[in-house]
């Protein structure tokens, strides 16, 4: 039996649709992330799961029991809030103990459990500290320990890492995953940080405008996005205009070259489409191009180099290979090309660069399902 089921959840705030026909099944011990931009409905869905908001229609099922009409304190869930929501008048140990105390567990059991959790989360040294005396990372750990102290059936994490700095965030997300696996807690994580969602989730639910855009494993979501929104929202993505030559055969054309591309099958002959490809998959060919073997090329001028650590991102302004072609096919926008930082010096700003587009690793989508601004490379 699945641990949590959300069935046909709908929610409106006035005229605004917050969540639309949201259905999802979460298995026991699974960590599922709700990922999407601000206002996409992910937190509202989480709050309806917790019982802080009531759905207009639909049901929340936990272990086969409909809890839709139960108040939060009867659902047996734990939650970590954005900003932690630690009680400022209690020490770390008292915060962790709170849920056990209100459930009137025996004092000895409470003490043992609190000690275990403080130890598990590395909080023994700050057990008697108040929240204002702790760092953001320590507060976050206390919030986690407090949430799991009651041994919840489902753990809800509402942007738990948004208030800590980048380095601590990386450490803590690993710690969350370690704890979640160790305690085998079914967990829902709400985040707008794609790296957070991809790095620790079993599955990712990509949300847009209150609805599920796509559900899949992190690998599926990143490597084989099924929608333009997902492709644009997850990581950097290049969009290269192509024309459908044969929808039946999945053949597209660009710069006079015709190639068979994934995703092109079934699109309308003669229509414009977008070929999507990640920056790290583009291969520099030097300044003149080279053997293509069924792939496409784009030639451009390097405008900017951005150092990213192991790789450097080159921002390429496309140069029209064939002026006639420009009249029928719009140029690609700026292309992002990731190259090893050790070799980036070969392509300084202003230099010309041709890149191979490995078509087999790309995906073609119909034009008009444009990627949202900000999602592009």
């Amino acid at each position: 039996m699945s641990r949590l089921e959300l069935i046909g959840i709908n929610k409106r705030f006035g005229d605004q649709i917050a969540v639309s026909d949201f259905s999802l099944t979460v298995e026991d011990g699974e960590l599922v992330s709700f990922l999407g931009p601000s206002g996409c409905g992910k937190t509202t869905t989480l709050r309806m799961t917790a019982g802080f908001e009531s759905p207009d229609s639909g049901a929340v099922i936990v272990d086969g029991v409909d809890v839709t009409d139960l108040p939060p304190n009867k659902r047996g869930m734990g939650m970590v809030f954005q900003g932690y929501a630690l009680f400022p008048n209690m020490t770390a140990a008292e915060n962790v103990e709170f849920g056990l105390a209100v459930r009137k567990r025996p004092a000895a059991e409470r003490q043992t459990r609190v000690a275990e959790l403080l130890d598990l989360f590395g909080l023994a040294r700050v057990a008697e500290s108040y929240p204002h005396q702790m760092s953001g990372g320590q507060q976050q750990r206390v919030a986690l320990a407090r949430a799991v102290a009651i041994q919840p059936g489902v753990l809800l994490l509402d942007e738990p890492l948004s208030a800590v700095d980048a380095k601590v965030r990386e450490e803590l997300r690993t710690e969350i995953r370690r704890m979640q696996v160790q305690l085998h807690i079914t967990t829902i994580l709400v985040t707008h940080d794609q790296s957070e969602a991809l790095s620790i989730s079993d599955r990712v639910v990509v949300m847009s405008r209150g609805a599920i855009e796509e559900v899949g494993t992190p690998t599926q979501i990143y490597a084989e996005p099924r929608s333009a929104f997902t492709a644009g929202f997850i990581g950097a993505m290049n969009e290269i205009p192509v024309r459908i030559v044969s929808g039946a055969g999945g053949v597209v054309e660009r710069g006079g070259r015709r190639v068979t591309a994934p995703g092109a099958a079934g699109l309308v002959d003669g229509d414009l489409a977008m070929l999507l490809i990640r920056p790290e998959l583009l291969e520099p060919l030097g300044s003149t191009g080279g053997s293509l073997n069924g792939d496409l090329t784009v030639t451009g001028r390097v405008e900017v180099q951005t150092f990213l650590g192991a790789t450097t991102r080159l921002l390429l302004a496309e140069l029209p290979a064939n002026p006639d072609d420009r009249s029928v096919l719009p140029a690609a926008r700026r292309l992002a090309v990731d190259v090893p930082s050790a070799t980036a010096g070969r392509w300084p700003a202003g230099s010309e660069l041709a890149v191979r587009i490995p078509v087999a690793a790309s995906r073609v989508i119909a034009d008009g399902t444009a990627i949202q601004p900000g999602g592009h490379a």
């Binding site: 917790a50 802080f52 304190n73 929501a85 009680f87 709170f98 849920g99």
Partner: protein, 298 residues
């Protein structure tokens, strides 16, 4: 190198002295104000209280009231009046403040804050006359109630008494409480209640374990402010009772202005006693505020 030198200069002792000098200059007006209106009067007050006002000789006689129960009546009246008006103002103001915050209506909050700001400062003679016109022997409300069979004054009520003063003082103490409690009430996070709730707490358990302990500090701190405010009030009480109710500020006034009981030395001694009570209230409030600020991000 030039920019490096410039940055290094900024950290030299000379630069630090220059910054310190500018800061001291900026604080000069405040220092003058404190000296002229707090330090000098306080020193003069204390000096006067330990000297005979006729001979100028050092004396403890001005503090003899501390040993005479009858002479302590003004203090007792002031303490009782302040306590009563503080409790009424504090509790009613807290409830109104909570109602305003719970409304979650910015317009209501704005109107309430504006009204409270005006009402909290509407004291003194105009307020006294307003109450006389409303609740005095021939006040509008008194007459209206009398015409409907309810005679306040037959029932023992007197506006020109400690009870009457308590009602009048509550008029500005309630809005003052609303004003000072709104920030801590607004700083209470909804997520605290939700966190308690999802951990299994009932509403009462949340109130008892989280909300009340957090709000207790700013609440007591606000009561101290109200108490000090009531204790030092003079004009309203004098205008309403024409000095017949013996309160510390009124006694001080009588000792300075009175033809019969003129004794500035004793007035100074009473004023020192009043100042000590005020200092305890304000000092206690400052200590509590520091603690409250740590718990509530305001």
């Amino acid at each position: 190198m030039r920019s490096l030198t410039a940055r290094t200069d900024a950290g030299t002792p000379a630069a630090a002295r220059s910054r310190g000098g500018r800061a001291a200059l900026a604080l000069l007006p405040l220092a003058v104000l404190i000296t002229a209106f707090l330090l000098v009067p306080t020193v003069a007050l204390v000096w006067g209280s330990f000297h005979d006002s006729k001979t100028g000789a050092f004396s403890l006689a001005n503090y003899s009231y501390l040993g005479h129960p009858l002479d302590l009546i003004p203090f007792r009246n002031s303490l009782e009046l302040s306590l009563a008006s503080t409790l009424v103002g504090g509790l009613v103001g807290l409830l109104i403040g909570q109602a305003i915050v719970s409304s979650r209506q910015p317009l209501i909050q704005e109107i309430a804050t504006t009204f409270s700001s005006v009402a909290a400062n509407f004291a003194g003679v105009p307020l006294a006359y307003a109450f006389i016109a409303t609740l005095g022997n021939s006040g509008l409300l008194t007459l209206f109630l009398r015409s409907n069979g309810i005679d306040l004054y037959d029932g023992g009520f007197k506006l020109y008494s400690v009870l009457g003063l308590t009602i009048v003082y509550a008029y500005w103490e309630i809005p003052l409480m609303v004003l000072v409690m709104l920030p801590p009430l607004q700083a209470m996070k909804r997520s605290w209640r939700e966190a308690a709730e999802i951990l299994g707490a009932s509403r009462w358990q949340y109130l008892r374990s989280v909300a009340i302990p957090i709000l207790m500090t700013p609440f007591i701190s606000s009561l101290l402010l109200l108490y000090a405010n009531a204790f030092g009030a003079y004009a309203t009480a004098y205008a309403l009772t024409t000095g017949f109710v013996s309160l510390v500020p009124i006694e001080i006034s009588n000792l300075i202005n009175g033809d019969v009981s003129y004794d500035p030395g004793q007035a100074d001694a009473l004023a020192v006693g009043l100042a000590v009570i005020m200092a305890v209230c304000i000092g206690g409030r400052a200590i509590l505020e520091r603690r409250s600020t740590r718990w509530l991000d305001r």
